[in-house]
Amino acid sequence: MKSIFGLFLVLAILVIIPAVEYVFAAGDEPGGYLDRRVIIWNLFYRMMTVAFTVGAVVSGTIIWLCWRFRESHPKATPTPYEKEGVW
């Protein structure tokens, strides 16, 4: 349990606290001229890149799991339940 708290502490320091600070640092001062098309479409394309990358990793992992742990795989080993034949 200690190491899990450690992991989340590291994550919080690395990612969450800077992001929250960044957001709350935004004041009410007037903004500059900008092209909202660029900001919005740029965000869209970056989000799509993340979405497709995550999608590829997740579906790739599932495909690999199905391939590796099929019954006919040369290195397949029965689970303890299958070995004993008792459920």
């Binding site: 957001v23 001062e29 903004g31 900001i39 479409w41």
Partner: protein
Amino acid sequence: MGHHSNWPEWIYVGVVIALMVWVGAEAWNAERLVEHIPADAEVIKVTGQQWFWTFEHEDGTKEIGELHVKSGKAYKFEITSKDVNHAFNIHDYVVLMDAVPGRVNTVWFAPMEVGEHDIQCREYCGLIHYNMRGKLIIEEDSS
């Protein structure tokens, strides 16, 4: 099963949380940039009603169905409705804001090129919703 390692699961959970925080922060930052209105933005009052748009400039000039603006200037739209919910949309400039009776919503943009663009209602508002259109005309700034 007791001595099975949980680390891969926790790393997976950590990666998912980190990704979600990053996505949230990026989106929040884009929203912050887009919502901060420049101090010198000219206010245009936009009123939606079945089934046309009315525009009122700061100097009192009114337009119906057409909106004339200058390139290189910032404009802040104060959007409301007289009857039912509408949504003010300039698709080419990614401007989209609800027009709600009794409420003023704001959105701003700064057109940079001369040209003509469509304005369209994006909230179903009745029989002629499909034709609740307008024209945005961006002109050269002569001043």
